[in-house]
């Protein structure tokens, strides 16, 4: 029982990280109907910038742990947001209105470029950061095992919930949120009503990139190992999460992320750790086959 609860906690932590990345997929899909294939790479770049910023702040500028983390969070969010904006501007905006496969191929190109850019500039080695935050609280104890909820896990889950709540409020309550929803429903009509559609799309990419960069920071702290290739798998899983939850839906992204995190953690714990990625891909395929709209998504009506 204790083992199960521990895995549950680990899965939830992992799931919130996936959920943050999944929001980027879901929001972009909701507004321009394309899969932002390079989003996993944005998360990877976020992780690298976070690591560099954190080390720079603590080693060279003498920040403490808290100061270093806050500096890393701010710097990562700023730079990764700019990366997100630029990716949209370079790879997707010129292709608006092109055949559907064109932006997908340019997105694949973008993702290969980003991966290799990081590999060439930072090396192919795995970067390891020793665990910074240790300790936590004891949730329950069995005769053989103690279930531990670490401070870091609490921080990750808490920060994700705060960001999710904030984003939901922005989307539901502000003028920008209204414009965003309007563009998702009907970009042409929104433009006729005076909404700057391109600007809204750019902002959506920036929000997605910032959230992904926070996820990158979290994963750097949580696992302490990153390399230039982490974006590929994380992107696939977050995309699966977005599809599972219902692409285009914000609560769906959270739900899907948590489910994928739990599936991965429990599968690794009880079946085989080697095939955990296969398990996630199989979930993606099964969902697309039997419920393509996901848990919370709405069916798409094809107009002729």
């Amino acid at each position: 029982m204790a083992y199960f609860i521990q895995q549950l906690l680990n899965g939830l932590t992992l799931g919130t990280i996936y959920a943050l990345v999944a929001i980027g997929y879901t929001m972009v899909y909701g507004i321009i109907g394309m899969i932002n294939f390079a989003h996993g790479e944005v998360y990877m770049i976020g992780a690298f910038i976070a690591l560099i910023a954190f080390l720079g702040a603590t080693v060279h500028f003498g920040f403490g742990l808290t100061g270093g983390l806050i500096a890393a969070l701010v710097i990562t969010a700023l730079f990764t947001g700019l990366w997100g904006w630029s990716i949209e501007r370079i790879a997707y905006r010129p292709l608006r209105g092109a055949p559907k496969l064109a932006p997908l191929i340019s997105a694949i190109g973008m993702s290969i470029i980003l991966q290799n850019f990081v590999q060439l500039s930072q090396g192919a080695r795995v970067m390891t950061l020793p665990p910074l935050l240790q300790g936590g609280i004891e949730v329950m104890s069995d005769d053989s095992l103690t279930v531990n909820l670490s401070w870091l896990q609490m921080g990750i889950i808490g920060l994700t919930l705060v960001l999710m709540t904030g984003l939901t409020l922005i989307i539901n309550r502000t003028a920008f949120g209204r414009a965003q929803r309007a563009c998702a429903q009907d970009p042409k009509m929104a433009a006729l009503l005076g909404i700057h559609v391109d600007r809204v799309i750019s902002a959506t990419f920036v929000i997605g990139a910032v959230l992904a960069s926070v996820a990158g920071l979290m994963v750097t702290l949580y696992y302490g190992v990153i390399d230039f290739y982490i974006g590929f798998l994380a992107g696939m899983k977050a995309f699966t999460a977005a599809v599972l939850g219902g692409i285009g839906s914000l609560p769906g992204a959270l739900l899907g992320g948590l489910s994928i995190g739990l599936i991965e953690a429990l599968w690794s714990a009880y079946f085989s750790i080697e095939y955990k990625d296969v398990a996630v891909f199989s979930v993606l395929i099964l969902v697309l086959l039997f419920r393509p709209t996901g848990i919370l998504g709405r069916a798409e009506v094809e107009k002729i």
Binding site: F79, Q122, F281, I285
Partner: protein, 409 residues
Amino acid sequence: MSDWRTRGKTSLSAAVLAAILALPILGFQLSETGTGLTVLARLHTVAWVFVAVGLGSFALTSARAIKWPSIALPAQTSDRLGWALAIFALALPFLPFADRSLIDKATLILIYVMLGWGLNVVVGWAGLLDLGYAGFYAIGAYSYALLAQAFDISFWLCLPLAGLFSALFGLALGFPVLRLRGDYLAIVTMGFGEIIRIVLLNWQSLTGGPNGISNIARPTLFGLTFTARALDGGKTFAEALGIPYSANQRIFFLYFLILALALLTNFLALRLRRLPLGRAWEALREDEIACRSLGINPTNIKLSAFAIGAMCAGFAGSFFATRQGFITPESFSFIESAVIVAIVVLGGMGSQVGIVFAAIILVGLPEWFRDLQNYRMLAFGLTLLVVMIFKPSGLVSRRSPTIVLKDPA
């Protein structure tokens, strides 16, 4: 010209943006020291990025201002060029400058040409973006290696079997997912490619895991081997012809083998295209709803394209296995699929001749300029991006309808 200033402004802002973007990743280097990770500054690289992007952007905007003629080859020229290329490929080993390394490189290029032609059926004609093509390539390679080792079957018997296996896998994997929309299909096929690779990596007892399979049997020509000494009871190629043995013979033989396989793929693909099946592929690519209303079953038609593409990958895979002599799952990663897609896209999505040139550029150039090896994948990515932005229909684009209603007059 008056728009020099606007172009300059655009380039300047691009350069500033690039410098800011490059600052954290390129300007600082993570490095391992005795006590742990630290960062080192190397800000001069950011200045380089600033200059390079500024100049590059200026060149690009200037190039955009000029009206480029499109390199759309008329059907006849394209056909003639194709024949000329085929004759050149046949004659290549007999040309005076053809040495071992050149033929080796040409063989490698031809593998990709063949893969490109196979994938072209799926991507170019049927319009299904398949990002897991390397998975079928892997299945072909592993089927050959395992069959040849377990049952001691010759290459020539294994080749069709490997193609068949790959096609069956294509059918089995394609059947559930081909109903999906284009971009979902791309992601799911990518997932399949990864699943195949992960299974190959972890199914130690069958595939040897990360160590792969080595000592794969070499191909023979009518029972003649290409080794220095014949196996028991057999004869070598050199003995049969009464010529001295040379290691080049095997290289040349492999070259002709892949050339034959590639031309066969090309022939098959071109003939299939003229059948009602091929027309249905193209019709489906253009308008699925219209096709359905005309009574075409989209799933079956797509499935046939998928299976034929997979079969070609299976052939190429077993050739790859026999040429290398050893295979590991690492040869069949997503990058491999991306390279093949890049070849098809650059080749013009549907043009057979375009694919040959694309394979030469994308696979051949990095082979000749070894220093570029590190930048190879970066170049692939840039190619996909730039081609899509400037010419979404590919470089050598000829995607005219294969059948036209003629004026009855």
